[in-house]
């Protein structure tokens, strides 16, 4: 262990009041933590916990209506909150740098990579054009971008998400800062890319001895890179300590709840669905996207879904797992005929729905329902919850009274208050809205549910509740579920079988045990290896504790 020395950054009793009229008085309340040079401090919490707030306060990026009312943020012993703007400007970028969540919106779309990185040095009066140019090359090389010579002249939209985040990191490193603040830097990225970026941050931090403040909501990521952890709930620091302490021996009930909610692989008994008739059979399904292409240019052709076949029985959950662009969402949309298909068959109860016209298919729609990804976009903001839930049955010829009674039952079934019936979607939280979305799908008593990234936009604790609800409903109603997700951990938790999609094809298909423990395809292996926090078993942490308490 190192000798305790003065911390690089010390947040002391920081309080930031919220404007009056919001759900709580303080964005963050008397929070204190230290960040030392050469360590990675993870600030974890769910949305609205105030975890990004301190990061923004350090950078002086708080919106104008938020002013810290008390406390200090000491950086190398000097209080950043009392520093003048010109002094702060000197520190920003030079001593403290930041990496944001969404690299596409954080980069200027009209400037080349080279100009953006050089600009950081230019505004701080570092070097001349020649040396800056050389430094840009070195940096791009350092963050592991291929062909820096060519890539430095590219515009951000030409780069992939991971490459953009690397450029952001290169920009942050341009002036060799002593401290790096990373605010959810991998949340918008695919798992395999996320693993690479985490690896990169870890490597840089080791090599430069930087202090890194890493804000995240993902305990898997914490397990992978944190030295120390700060857990925040509703503006308060509820627990802090070394990664080992917090992850494996959490003390605060909130931390324990969060860790218990982390999706996990539990050997759940595979239900005996094998004997039943197949409900859905997909055979050689193909969907091709053509874009661009005028009189003279060839259109760009993407095989979004390429010869996909699988069968699904009643009461069974099939997970479709893949990264962005793998065609998993398109597959779901093809099955529900939300988009046309270029070939193949979709047999629902033995009847091919592909050649049916929209009108002929409409009566069958009630048997196949969908739960959407974004709980904020999937409910019509101008309709009450009651209207949203009754619209479907009414469209299928159920009398309104009956539909209303059913809707009230469903609200109860998904755990919402009966008063929700007359309220509008904006009065509900993300998790509650997703419950409404599930209730809407169930209102028609479907046999097949397609859940497209249905829990991805939710906080872990809410996610766990929604997953539990889905499993419970499936058992009671004998539903067949197609669960589309990018998150292998979630898929492992609730699926009976998992199909891994890569570039429009299913590369591997089998029970979770096989996919996780003996992946055969190279891509599956890469995907499994990239899952954050693989070494850490959240179950053990919480179960141990429960046993000790007894």
């Amino acid at each position: 262990m190192e000798m305790p020395r003065a911390p690089l950054l010390s947040v002391q009793n920081l309080t930031i009041p919220l404007p009056v009229g919001l759900d709580r008085r303080y964005a963050v309340e008397t929070i204190s933590y230290d960040l030392h040079a050469g360590e990675i401090l993870c600030v974890v919490g769910e949305s609205g916990s105030g975890k990004s707030m301190t990061a923004n306060a350090v950078m002086g990026l708080l919106p104008s209506y938020l002013k810290p009312s008390s406390g200090r943020i000491l950086f190398r012993g000097r209080d950043l909150l009392t520093m003048s703007e010109p002094e702060l400007e000197r520190e920003r970028g030079r001593s403290v740098a930041m990496v944001f969540q969404e690299p596409l919106s954080a980069l200027n779309p009209l400037m080349t990579v080279r100009d953006q990185i050089a600009e950081v040095m230019e505004v701080h009066g570092e070097g001349d054009a020649m040396t800056r140019d050389q430094r840009v090359l070195d940096l791009l090389n350092y963050v592991g971008l291929p062909d820096p010579q060519i890539l430095r002249d590219a515009y951000p939209f030409r780069l992939s998400g991971g490459q953009r985040q690397r450029v952001m990191i290169a920009m942050a490193l341009a002036l060799e800062p002593a401290m790096l603040i990373a605010d959810e830097p991998t949340t918008a990225l695919d798992v395999t890319t996320q693993a690479q970026i985490l690896e990169l941050i870890r490597r840089i931090q080791r090599a430069k001895g930087m202090g890194v403040m890493f804000v995240t909501h993902d305990f898997g990521v914490v397990a992978d890179i944190a030295d120390r952890v700060v857990v925040m709930e509703r503006g308060l620091v509820v627990e802090q300590g070394t990664a080992d302490e917090v992850l494996n021996r959490p003390k605060h009930p909130y931390t324990r709840r969060l860790i218990a909610a982390v999706p996990h692989r539990e050997a759940h008994a595979v239900r005996a669905a094998t004997g039943k008739e197949p409900l859905l059979e997909v055979k050689d399904l193909r969907k091709i996207y053509r874009s661009g292409g005028g009189f003279f240019s060839k259109p760009r052709v993407v095989n979004a879904v390429n010869n996909i076949s699988f069968t699904l029985r009643r009461g069974e959950t099939l997970g479709i797992v893949g990264e962005s662009g793998s065609g998993k969402s398109t597959l779901g949309r093809c099955i529900l005929k939300l988009t046309d298909v270029d070939g193949g068959q979709v047999l629902f109860r033995g009847r091919d729905v592909v050649p049916l016209s929209a009108g002929a298919f409409r009566p069958m729609r009630k048997h196949m329902q969908m739960i959407f990804q974004d709980p904020f976009a999937s409910l019509n903001p101008r309709q009450t919850i009651g209207r949203i839930l009754t619209d479907g049955p009414v469209a299928n010829g159920v009398p309104y009274n009956q539909a209303e009674a059913r809707a009230r039952e469903l609200l109860d079934l998904v755990g919402l208050d009966a008063s929700a019936f007359d309220r509008y979607p904006h009065e509900f939280s993300g998790g509650q809205r997703q419950r409404v979305g599930i209730a809407r799908a169930l209102a028609l008593e479907p046999e097949l549910l397609v859940a497209d990234e249905s829990v991805s936009a939710l906080d872990v604790s809410v996610q766990a509740q929604v997953l539990e609800l889905l499993q419970d409903l499936q058992r009671r109603l004998d539903l067949a579920i197609i669960f589309i997700t990018h998150d292998l951990r979630v898929a492992a938790q609730i699926c009976d079988r998992i199909a891994v999609m890569y570039r429009g094809e299913i590369v591997e298909n089998g029970p979770p045990e096989q996919i996780f423990d003996a992946p055969r395809h190279a891509y599956t292996q890469r995907l499994i290896a990239a899952i954050p926090g693989r070494e850490w078993n959240p179950r053990a942490a919480v179960i141990d504790l429960k046993e000790k308490q007894r």
Partner: protein, 278 residues
């Protein structure tokens, strides 16, 4: 925040609303305020404003009361403005919604049709239409409606295009709602704000168009209108300025008021601007 409070934060909009209420009141109460027909000679010709206290805005070359003309003209202006806009909005929303929702061939067809109307100068077309169907209030209203729907169709098409791909619309398709039902109950309520804002501004344009038509002598022969008054007065601009200035000011104020209201509605209804002034 309630809608009206958001609207009322824009002082210009409140002012516009006040002016418009005044104009509407005058139009409604015209027969009470001025029992005599505005076409009837009531006093000496060419009375300047306040020369005779019973004719505060003066009289024209035939001794007709200018104030009475303004009051009755307000009826024509508002009637034509509102009705023609209503007709234009109905045409525009229908075509725009069909084009935006169904896309593909229907979209191409409807949009080429819209462009056909857009390529012809609107005012020239209105003149031709009114000239073909003898000038009366119905033909004028319809002519204005026919030339002013294309922008509405374009706007509604764009709104429908973007709303169609939203998840709640997809959800409506999945639960088995039919196309027309989705358009009416799911998409239209979400597209209504920009339509209202555009419509309010179209009323102002329609009033201007009606005045221009009347000015050219294509107004309804049986109804006094502001445009007609200016047209009749134009040869006497130097001798009797009040004959053209007062109807001109009436047009200016009414159009300005409606524009201010439109602006206020836009601020209050556009969620992106909410809190911009907060």
């Amino acid at each position: 925040m309630p809608f009206f409070l958001r609207f009322a934060r824009n002082y210009g909009a409140l002012l516009g609303l006040a002016i418009l209420v005044l104009v509407v009141m005058v139009a409604l109460l015209a027969p009470l305020l001025f029992p005599a027909s505005p076409w009837q000679s009531v006093g000496d010709p060419f009375l300047a404003p306040s020369e005779d206290p019973s004719y505060p805005l003066g009289t024209d070359m035939l001794g007709r009361d200018i104030a009475a003309g303004l009051a009755y003209g307000a009826r024509v202006s508002l009637l034509v403005g509102v009705v023609s806009t209503a007709v234009a909005v109905v045409i525009g929303v229908t075509l725009g919604a069909l084009a935006g929702f169904y896309g593909g061939r229907a979209d191409d067809l409807l949009m080429r049709f819209t462009e056909f109307f857009q390529t012809i100068p609107a005012f020239a077309m209105a003149v031709v239409l009114v000239a073909i169907f003898s000038p009366n209030i119905v033909s004028i209203t319809l002519a204005i409606a026919v030339v002013s729907w294309p922008p509405v169709a374009r706007l509604v098409r764009a709104e429908f295009l973007s709303l169609r791909s939203r998840e709640f619309v997809q959800a409506a398709i999945v639960v088995g709602q039919t196309g027309p039902r989705i358009m009416l109950t799911q998409i239209l309520p979400n597209a209504i704000s920009p339509i209202i804002v555009t419509a309010s501004l179209m009323v102002a344009t329609a009033i201007l168009t009606e005045s221009s038509l009347s000015f050219l002598g294509l107004g309804d022969r049986n109804m006094m209108s502001w445009g007609f008054m200016i047209g009749a007065a134009r040869t006497m601009l130097r001798e009797a300025w009040w004959m053209s200035v007062f109807p001109g000011v009436a047009i200016l104020l009414t159009v300005l008021a409606i524009n201010l209201i439109g602006e206020g509605l836009n601020d209050a209804m556009n969620p992106h601007l909410r809190g911009r002034k907060g």
